[in-house]
């Protein structure tokens, strides 16, 4: 019995470490002066370093279960967790001076983000619907309150309330769907659900009802059409640093639970969820790309671009093959790298008295700072999907998987929508290089931000040139966990 518990605890070590460090951060904040908040910052970065070590130390070669099969540690989980650490670490770094300028550089911010990371790790590793829900709530509660952290900002508060109400509704839908699936299979365990459905293919009207609700909940968390209404409002209202957090790492966790629930638990119902995902994917790509053209606020534009990216991720999932899941995983990871740079440049261009929010603010960036203009160029090309950037390979792989699954017409449609999307990405490039700057003045950032940001943006290009290692890692992660 004791050894069993020890084994369980050793598997969940990274989670325990993140949880305890979040509490250490919370307590340390009470005892230090506001001027020495760098201690909190370094502690948070150390946490991420430590958890990277703990996860990497025994990187899962095979699938291992703990806590009566609720918690799973496999290739997919460890891969996604590693990328999440990277994403959170970059978020902390990029948002540092932005948060300082706005008086939000507080211990609670770091603690809540670490708690959110814990929620994501639980979601990524959950093998039980109860745990999926717990992780999701852990993550969502943190995100709601971080959005409202800038209390005197009315827009931020409004968007936080909107996010909270709609998020609570979506959680309710997800939970209701789960209860239907529980009613039909009498188990919450994803593995047992999968085998029950495989062995007893019953008349499944209740299962389909549950599936619809589960998909609605998942689509909300991912931000797919027709559950996308919150995305632009929250991105616009929340401070840029928090919009960056919401748009980047949580998508990895949402992707993980989508894979676990659909590709693992409800595998036998693929005919049912394939069509539902198809509708959502096609709508997301069209509405995302077309509406983004009309936006004047760059954060809203990013939001609609996120929606279209989610559409592509769903394209990979609905192919229903290991190849499709792997390409979706590749897409979601590269999307995180892209969106982090895009928001980071937004934050570097803002300062204490100026909030870079409008697309016009990018006018003549090349004259103000050629290097940042170049980095932004890489991101925009990558988001648009122009070779040789990572975004091109991501789209290419996803569409290839969809093609193999036989969705020829829809793939052609998606490529056409990519062309539509190019308009608003390239418009930014045009503004940066061919227009006169509206605001003068240098753009300043601390040395570490400059270096890491450059590395991050160049990685989009470098991985785009040699994508094979990264591709192999994603394929391996998927094939290790789903077989």
């Amino acid at each position: 019995m004791n050894e069993l518990i020890q084994f369980d605890l050793s598997l969940i070590m990274p989670e325990i470490f993140v949880l305890s460090m979040a509490m250490v951060v919370l307590m340390t904040d009470l005892f230090i002066k506001p001027s020495s908040r760098w201690i909190i910052y370094s502690l948070s970065q150390l946490t991420l370093l430590g958890s990277t070590y703990l996860t990497g130390k025994d990187f899962a070669e095979e699938t291992q279960f703990a806590f009566s099969n609720m918690f799973v540690r496999d290739g997919l989980a460890d891969f996604l967790k590693m990328i999440s650490y990277l994403g959170i670490s970059l978020t902390f770094l990029y948002s540092r001076s932005y948060m300082k300028d706005r008086g939000l550089y507080r211990g609670e911010y770091f603690a809540l983000v670490l708690f959110a990371l814990l929620g994501m790790m639980i979601m990524i590793s959950s093998h039980n619907m109860l745990l999926v829900y717990m992780g999701l709530e852990l993550l969502s509660l943190c995100l709601y309150s971080i959005t409202a952290l800038d209390r005197d900002n009315q827009k931020a508060t409004e968007s936080a309330i909107k996010y909270f109400v709609l998020g609570a509704l979506a959680s309710g839908l997800l939970l209701y769907g789960m209860s239907m699936i529980y009613g039909a299979t009498s188990s919450l365990d994803i593995g047992i659900i999968s085998t029950t459905l495989f062995n007893h293919p019953t008349d499944h009207s209740i299962l389909v009802l549950g599936l619809v609700f589960v998909l609605a909940g998942l689509a909300f968390k991912l931000g797919a059409v027709p559950f996308q209404m919150w995305v632009p409002d929250v991105y616009e209202g929340a401070p840029s640093s928090i919009a960056m957090l919401i748009s980047s790492v949580p998508k990895l966790a949402a992707f993980a639970i989508t894979i676990r629930l659909l590709a693992d638990g409800l595998q036998s119902m693929i005919i049912d969820w394939k069509e539902m995902l198809l509708i959502m994917a096609v709508l997301s790509i069209s509405i995302g790309n077309i509406t983004a053209i009309a936006q004047k606020n760059i954060k809203r534009m990013y939001a609609y671009s996120t929606i279209s990216h989610i559409g592509f991720i769903l394209f990979g999932v609905m192919s229903g093959s290991l190849n499709g899941y792997a390409s979706s995983l590749f897409y979601v990871a590269s999307y995180m790298l892209m969106t982090l740079v895009s928001f980071a440049i937004l934050m570097i261009m803002s300062n204490k008295n100026f909030e870079c929010e409008l697309i016009e603010d990018f006018k003549g960036l090349n004259k103000r700072s050629p290097w940042y203009a170049f980095l932004m160029l890489i991101v925009m090309l990558s988001m648009a999907g122009i070779p040789p950037t990572i975004g091109f390979y991501a789209k290419f792989m996803v569409l290839q998987a969809a093609l193999e699954a036989g969705f020829v017409g829809f793939v052609i449609y998606a490529v056409m929508m990519v062309l539509v999307g190019m308009f608003y990405y390239l418009r930014i490039v045009k503004l940066m290089y061919f227009d006169e700057p509206k605001v003068k003045g240098k753009i300043e950032a601390s040395l570490d931000v400059q270096w890491v940001l450059s590395l991050n943006a160049l990685s989009l290009l470098i991985i785009g040139l040699v994508p094979y290692t990264f591709m192999e890692a994603t394929t391996q992660a998927i094939s290790l966990s789903l077989n």
């Binding site: 969940i12 949880l19 919370l26 806590f67 009566s68 609720m70 918690f71 507080r106 609670e108 603690a111 809540l112 708690f115 814990l118 639980i122 039980n128 109860l130 745990l131 717990m134 992780g135 709530e137 852990l138 509660l141 943190c142 709601y144 309150s145 409202a148 952290l149 209390r151 009613g183 039909a184 299979t185 009498s186 029950t196 019953t202 008349d203 499944h204 009207s205 209740i206 299962l207 009802l209």
Partner: protein
């Protein structure tokens, strides 16, 4: 002929649904809160019928005893203008009602198939007390979600404090280290100036 148990169930359910409706329709927020209390009592009654005594008692103790009392306090302290909250209710009603009705009809059609695969509770469990069974599973099978629930509560506390605690603008708080570190030149300014003629003259006048 319906059994007595069925009769109790239907009575409790009827009051439950009626009080639930009254929660969302009553004009006075205090009435709404009290209706919710009634709804909780009826739900507890239904759980008692299902032989889940522990859950029933916890529902009454926690929700009725603690949560709703706090809620009532808040409702009484806040001055809520309900008419503003209800603005647009009738505008949205036709659309919302139509969609709600559609969903309900669909769900009823699905539930009529009776495909639920749940087996009745094991008879061997009936000899052990309810509380013991819950305690056993909560701390063995479900220990991880249980611990995570505690983290969720911690987050609720942290974010509630982070969102509401602020320094009072008129607070007379003293920072002692600032006081000790103060130097003379921060507080006293020595200014060289001539003595004023008028003042000297008027003084001499007074003496006369």
């Amino acid at each position: 002929m319906i059994e007595f148990k069925d009769f109790v169930f239907y009575a409790l359910s009827f009051v439950l649904v009626a009080s639930g409706l009254s929660v969302i329709t009553s004009r006075n927020p205090v009435t709404a809160a009290l209706s919710l209390v009634l709804a909780f009592f009826n739900a507890a009654g239904i759980w008692l019928l299902l032989q889940a005594e522990f859950l029933a008692i916890v529902l009454v103790l926690v929700y009725v005893g603690a949560v709703m009392v706090l809620f009532l306090f808040v409702v009484m302290m806040l001055d809520i203008n309900l008419d503003k909250l209800r603005e647009g209710f009738w505008d949205y009603l036709p659309m919302a009602g139509f969609i709600g009705l559609l969903m309900m009809v669909e769900m009823v059609l699905v539930f009529k198939t009776k495909e639920f695969n749940l087996s009745p509770v094991d008879d061997s469990l009936k000899s052990i007390s309810n509380t013991e069974v819950i305690g056993n599973t909560l701390y063995s099978t479900y220990v991880l979600p249980f611990e995570l629930a505690s983290v969720v509560l911690l987050i609720a506390i942290v974010s509630a404090i982070a969102l509401t605690l602020r320094d009072r603008k008129d607070s007379k708080k003293i920072n002692s280290s600032d006081q000790i570190n103060i130097k003379r030149q921060d507080r006293v300014r020595l200014v060289a100036m001539k003595s004023e003629e008028k003042y000297v003259k008027s003084k001499t006048k007074d003496r006369k």
